[in-house]
Amino acid sequence: MHEQSIVESLLNLALENARKSNARKIVSINLVVGDYTGIVDDAVNFYFGFLSQDTIAAGANINFTHVPGQLRCRDCDILFPMQKQIFRCPKCSGSRLEIVGGRELYIENMVVE
């Protein structure tokens, strides 16, 4: 259910931008998704196909660019990628970590006609 409301917002944002530039059709949407958002591509595609019927975005392709989660150790000051089920600094094994990447969720650009 989470993806349904995300896709509603995605579709509204895409349609609004298309309208502002007098586009007749949205061909594809390039979406940037951080791994910490927990967004699942297949679920987005499923809801998008369903919700975009009868709009100028019907049939549009969604291209996903995934941004890996990135953490910073507050003690060692090193950056490292998020690993599933592990929340420790690879250097000091500490868990005083700041999330510095992976929460992105935006439309980079769209191809329109």
Binding site: I6, S9, Y36, Q85, S95, R96, I99, I107, N109, V112
Partner: protein, 224 residues
Amino acid sequence: MGTRILTVKENILAANTKEAGIIRELLNRHNIGMINIMSSPGSGKTSVILQTIHRLRDRYRIAVIEGDIASSMDTDKITRLNIPAVQINTSGGCHLDARMTRKALDALDLDRINLIFIENVGNLVCTADFDLGAHKKVVILSIPEGDDKPHKYPVMFVEADVVLVNKTDVLPHFDFKLEEFPAIISGLNPSARVFPVSAKTQDGLNRWISWIEETFSGTSCEDS
């Protein structure tokens, strides 16, 4: 007709964030404080809210917005105390958003309220991503859920202003390391406050109540 590339570079949740900003302005105009309470199902959101109402109702005019996937059981518990409560049924949706919150606020008399608690849908994942226009975010984690949850669901705890560790009365039966827990939270989110409480025995509630009074001192009945 040829194709062209349209640069957007806009967050998908921007519309929600904008609406949340409008809500905060509305609340500020009415001198109302609002707290968004999030947790997994069954961690004690309703019990904490009920205890908080008992302790603050002399000083604040309180209302509650209840988010639920279905049913009005929690709302009924609040209205029995003669506290205004608005039910939002998300019809299966796993979180509240700013638009739903705005609709709930429309059903309240904002001139007769100065403190609102939002009981979000029980979910430790996506509720964190949706700004509801509240001034503060509170996450409740209960002892039986385990002290590993902040590392499994870090985003939720990064967003919190306060983490209430509820059900401390059952601590002897679980492996939850309560003494080490504040350090786990401060490692993730140095500015968050941690208050161990038991809504059942009322242990530890004073610190939570004091935090509300300090945070929303300008909105209490005595000042308005």
